[in-house]
Amino acid sequence: MSNAVRGPAIEVHGLTKTYKSGDSAVEAVRGIDLRVEAGQTYGFLGPNGAGKSTTIEMLCTIRNPTSGTARVAGFDVVRERDQVRRRIGLVFQQQTLDLQLTAEQNLRFHADLYGLGRADARRRIDEVLEMVALADRRSDAVMKFSGGMKRRLEIARGLVHAPQVLFLDEPTIGLDPQTRAAIWDYLHDLRQRTEITVFVTTHYMDEAEHCDRIAIMDHGEIAVEDTPEALKSSIGTDRIALRTDDDELAIARVRERLGVEAGVHEGQVTIAVADGAQVVPRLFTELGVGIRSVTVTRPSLDDVFMTYTGRTIRDSEGPQKFVPPFAGRR
């Protein structure tokens, strides 16, 4: 099993998707470039309507691009569709199991669809069921499974045919925190044991921390792409939130004595500085205003997301219709 010399798992050039809606055309994806190295866990973030789903659907050969090219696992998504399909595993947001069948029958069906031999199929089904800790429930109808178990089974199913790239679209949405953590444990486990490439979208910024690299998509374009660490340091500031006895005076003093602008956010005086820990002592000595509490926050991926999309990830949740935001931009 030599994976020593391998091209990128995903390579995208000028990928564009335009939808017709009535007389006008909507550019959902505007000529993006993307490169995901083999073996990486790649986070794909963005507000709803940013073009994430459309991009994933093009990479998974569900939709054809309007223009541009995409190669997944070394094959062209349009011209070599079935070659791509054999080499990718998919876990969708909506569940796609046959609830009437048992866990094992669902996996068996999948193995058959992908043309695995009988012995290979049996071995892989045992392995993936073991991996997601559902081996003892293999003969139960999926109908009886909890949401978390179904999701685990879907991840297992996505792995049955030993794909090179696993696409996960919001794999933890609607799950409780324990189950979310468990699913990421499986993904870590998987990554340690294999050289699989994982391409994942998520709304949970804490989950994006698990990724080797992150791309943030907005308005059909890639707004920024880097490692989580680099992204966080790129926006560079710690945030100090204060509760004071006199906010207005505090803001004036901060400007005057620290030379920094402050504002009020959610009832707290908020200051952005390079190194929060060093500034806190000065606040007590130089402000001359009663301080009731201080919180220092390191930049998080939430802040990164906010900086590059102008929205918090929570604002962007919920169903939203795609509206071309800057129609004349290109």
């Binding site: 569900i62 071995r123 044991r193």
Partner: protein, 295 residues
């Protein structure tokens, strides 16, 4: 299990190129995929015992309650009971319901997401449609066998040839109706719409096939409608085979199993069945085409 599986799981779960099947010839691949989809229908049916019982109840009511009840006022023109006359028609009707339901289940597959699992697999859209149709038809035929086993109770001998002829007709009829259901499902996207629309289709097909009454001596408009209904060409051969086992008088023959004509031409049984087969193939390929372009 080899030691590789336990000692070197990393290698086993890795992206092993050896797991990828040989690229078979296109035809073999398509047939295999079709069979996989077909087998799912059979598996689902096996899992669903309740469906079997409920689907059997209705034809039993038709034959033994309606057949017996109306039998006293219906004159068959001889010694043949109305129940005997009714049997092949109700047998065909029973597959009508189960097969159409099996075809429509594509809407459920879509609604519950499973369709997507099939759509992203490295198989063609046509194999999904063919698999759904064949699977549905086999299930529907299988269900009707229980009813078929009761053929003796209406005074028809258990002749192996007759049973084979009937099973063949039932399968053909089931495939016709499953194809129709699948074709509908490619257009109808919601369960709420699928149920009434399929009812709207099934009921007229049942009544206009001559399953419950002989197609002799009908008023012109009704005669035309029955001849336009493809199910008629399943029901008539089945009745022909069934009543052929009895020694009917010429009057009974004339009345119960009249010769079906197109503009005066007596249509042979073989041609009737061939017509059904052609229509069925047409429906399946139409469904596959719609499915490929819209899904």
């Amino acid at each position: 299990m080899t030691s590789r599986d336990t000692t070197d799981r990393a290698a086993a779960v890795g992206p092993p190129v050896d797991l990828l099947p040989e690229v078979r010839s296109d035809m073999t691949h398509q047939l295999r995929a079709t069979w996989v989809v077909t087998r799912r229908e059979l598996l689902r049916f096996k899992q669903d015992k309740a469906r079997m019982v409920t689907m059997l109840l209705q034809p039993l009511l038709f034959i033994f309650v309606m057949g017996t009840g109306l039998g006293s006022i219906v004159n068959t023109g001889g010694g043949t009971s109305f129940r005997t006359f009714l049997f092949p028609g109700v047998l065909a009707t029973s597959v009508l319901f189960t097969a159409a339901f099996a075809g429509i289940s594509l809407v459920w597959d879509r609604e519950f997401g499973f369709l997507r699992e099939m759509m992203v697999a490295p198989i063609s859209r046509a194999s999904i449609i063919w698999g759904k149709c064949l699977g549905g038809a086999i299930v529907a035929t299988g269900q009707s066998l229980v009813l078929l086993a009761l053929v003796g109770t209406v005074g028809i001998p258990y002749s192996p040839v007759l049973l084979l002829e009937l099973i063949g007709c039932l399968f053909l009829g089931a495939l016709l109706l499953t194809a129709l259901g699948v074709l509908l499902s490619t257009r109808i996207k919601t369960i709420q719409a699928a149920m009434p629309i399929s009812q709207l289709l099934i009921m007229p097909m049942m009544f206009l096939s001559g399953s419950l009454f002989p197609i002799s001596g009908l008023p012109e408009w009704l005669a035309v409608l029955t001849r336009l209904n493809p199910l008629t060409y399943v029901v008539q051969p089945m009745r022909h085979f069934t009543l052929g086992q009895l020694n009917l008088t010429a009057a009974e023959q004339e009345r119960l199993v009249p010769v079906l004509t197109w503009f005066g031409w007596e249509v042979p049984i073989g041609v009737q069945l061939l017509a059904v087969a052609v229509i069925t193939l047409g429906l399946i390929s139409m469904a596959a085409r719609v499915f490929r372009t819209t899904e």
